[in-house]
């Protein structure tokens, strides 16, 4: 130790906790997951020794009955569901965050708290709450029946609609907060300058407001889209298992079907798809934001 230079020692001391944290909570579990994915599933549903690609082959859809697109449907459904929920969250959160940021200071705190407080309750309990609201013979279901959205005896749950509502409700705060931060820091002089140069309201928004909120929007999108992609509690409860999502597929291999290698392989695919998603988002942000790094 004494042989090391002082700044080297300083560097070691300051980075060690971070490195330790990443090794224990990221590297080791990921290594375990990767190792698990290449094991075989034993005769009684326990992971066993010979290393194989069976789990990935099975995940790709090859089985006793030949090839099936079932898991592919599951993946596409999950991506689509995540994109749809994120889009709806943006539509609601963007004006909401703007509105909150324009309020007197003491009201802002109250309004932000109102956005955040519901997320202090357990996800399961909130989902069960929605189950009761969407059951047949409730005010909401009756309204849906009258509009012709559903049959009287069916109610609105379980359904894809209920899942999307549950996701939007769950993730709204994660979009509102970063957007609010962006709006609060908004440089109003830019907006005024644009107005002074006779920009139309649309042009003001496009050139003066939107670029400034883009980092917040991107951060919110990451915070919403990624968990929504992997979500399984909400889809399980509000979807009733009618449409399996990738998160449910993985969870079920661990909890119900006891096929851990397949579950691990599914989890790896989830990570890969998420990384691809991040890359796409980053490139998109760069293009829209005029070559500025708006994300990562």
């Amino acid at each position: 130790m004494s042989g090391l230079r002082r700044d080297t020692r300083y560097l070691l001391a300051t980075t060690a906790p971070g490195v330790f944290f990443i090794v224990v909570f990221l590297v080791l579990p990921s290594a375990y997951l990767v190792a698990m994915a290449f094991l075989s599933n034993g005769p009684y549903g326990l992971p066993t020794a010979p290393l194989t690609l069976d789990a990935f082959r099975e995940l790709a859809g090859f089985g006793f009955l030949g090839w099936s697109p079932g898991n592919l449907y599951t993946l596409i459904r999950s991506v689509w569901q995540s994109l749809l929920a994120t889009a709806i969250v943006i539509v609601i959160a963007y004006p909401a965050a703007y509105y909150i940021s324009r309020q007197p200071v003491r009201w802002r705190a109250v309004m932000l708290l109102a956005v955040v407080v519901p997320s202090w309750t357990n996800q399961v309990i909130r989902s069960v709450g929605w189950m009761n609201i969407f059951a047949p013979d409730t005010v909401v279901s009756d309204l849906a029946v009258r509009v012709g959205l559903t049959e009287p005896q069916m109610g609105l749950f379980p359904s894809q609609f209920a899942v999307i509502v549950g996701l939007v409700y769950n993730f709204l705060p994660f979009m509102v907060l970063p957007l609010y931060a962006a709006f609060e820091r908004l440089d109003t002089e830019q907006v005024e300058a644009a107005r002074d140069l006779f920009a139309s309201p649309v042009a003001v928004f496009r050139h003066a407001v939107f670029p400034q909120t883009l980092p917040g929007l991107m951060a919110g999108t990451v915070l919403v889209a990624i968990p929504a992609f992997g979500m399984y509690v909400v889809t399980e409860l509000l979807g009733g298992g009618k449409a399996t999502m990738i998160g449910n597929l993985v969870a079920r291999q661990f909890v119900q079907a006891s096929n851990w290698p397949l579950g691990a392989a599914g989890a790896i695919i989830m990570i890969v798809v998420t990384l691809i998603g991040l890359k796409v988002l980053r490139d998109l942000g760069r293009r829209v934001g005029g070559d500025r790094e708006v994300l990562l």
């Binding site: 009684y44 059951a135 047949p136 049959e151 119900q256």
Partner: protein
């Protein structure tokens, strides 16, 4: 639900018998019980705690798959007594997740009924002792479906139930068993062609507009009362348990054993391989096998007792259908097979197909 006089009498009796025996042996120790929910009379636990001066910590699982996964993830050293169903017993044994029972510590084994001694799924009761038994049948709301045939057609035939919401359990073997029975292959079908056809049957059902999701046997009872589901599958004892709590809500709800056959199951007490306290676990199993406790248990949870000595003390409701099936119904009931290797893999694969489409 409660039987104050019986309970008071039993309490006195257990206190009297317990006082003299080796009760000090376990003083201050803890028993970890892993059981299905709504399956154990809290008074039985209290009496056990009082008699032995121990604490009982209870945890619950909702399906055999969940139990298996928990044990696999290290739970085999966290629980002292588990209660899996017959078709999971061989899998647990072959996976080395449970330990053999020491029959010298279980003198009350003699109380077991003839038909539960030496079961096919665990010859010689080497690893398991019956806890309770019951049936899984069809449940439906007559006010929503009207007069329907006593058949799995209630779930699988759109002509019988064109628009009322229905559900099937997420337990692959149970749902496919019902579909197999409906197709005339028997509830305990194992051939690939039969299972594949059954999977298609469930898939067809799943793709109908009035399919309301996968719902397990216990939660579906609440959904039936609330009206979000009108038909599904459940267990005879849970049905009676909830019915006795809410007679009005269950007025139009019927539980039947369909003509095509249904499942009969036995849940068994077993000790995980690395249980923290196997001695106390044996004491607990022996305690449950006592005649009075066996009767008290069934009288509380509405399931059938495998305990011959307990029979005279059972409530009348337990001596009649749906708890005690008639001889004619008994012929239609089958145990579902314990699967392993390729057959298990096959079942899981086709079930994944059902879920993902």
């Amino acid at each position: 639900m409660t039987h104050p006089t019986l309970r008071a009498g039993l309490l006195a009796a257990t206190l009297a018998t317990g006082a003299g025996s080796a009760s000090a042996q376990f003083e201050g120790e803890t028993l970890y019980l892993f059981n299905w929910s709504q399956y154990m009379d809290p008074a039985i636990i209290e009496q056990f705690e009082d008699r032995y001066g121990v604490d009982v910590v209870r945890n619950y699982f909702n399906s055999n798959g969940e139990l298996f996964a928990k044990l696999q993830a290290g739970g085999d050293s966290q629980y002292d007594v588990i209660v899996p169903s017959n078709y999971y017993v061989p899998r647990l044994i072959n996976s080395d997740l449970v330990q053999p029972l020491d029959h010298t510590q279980l003198p009350n084994l003699d109380n077991l009924m003839e038909s539960f001694v030496d079961p096919a799924f665990d010859p010689g009761n080497t690893y398991s002792v019956a806890y309770q038994w019951g049936t899984t049948g069809l449940i439906y709301d007559e006010s929503a479906l009207g007069d329907v045939p006593n058949s799995w057609a209630v779930l699988f035939d759109p002509a019988v139930n064109p628009d009322a919401p229905f559900a099937v359990p997420e337990d692959a073997q149970v749902s496919l068993g019902a579909a197999c029975a409906y197709q005339g292959e028997g509830y305990d079908c194992t051939s690939r062609s039969a299972l594949e056809a059954a999977a298609r049957e469930v898939l067809d059902a799943k793709q109908r507009d009035n399919f309301a999701g996968f719902v397990q046997g216990t939660p579906i009872l609440q959904q039936l009362v609330r009206g979000s589901v009108a038909a599904g599958m459940t267990f005879n004892g849970d049905y009676l348990f909830y019915k006795s709590e809410d007679p009005e809500g269950f007025e139009d709800i019927r539980f039947v054993i369909p003509e095509e056959g249904a499942e009969r199951w036995v849940d068994n007490m077993m000790i995980p391989a690395n249980a923290p306290n196997p001695e106390l676990a044996h004491a607990f199993i022996n305690y449950i096998l006592e005649a009075e406790i066996g009767a008290q248990l069934s009288n509380w949870n509405y399931y059938s007792s495998p305990n011959a000595a307990a029979l005279p003390m059972l409530d009348e409701v337990l001596q009649a259908p749906p708890i005690m099936p008639t001889d004619e119904q008994m012929e239609r009931l089958t145990f579902i097979p314990s699967l392993q290797g390729d057959s298990l893999e096959f079942l899981q694969q086709i079930w994944r197909e059902v879920e993902s489409r």
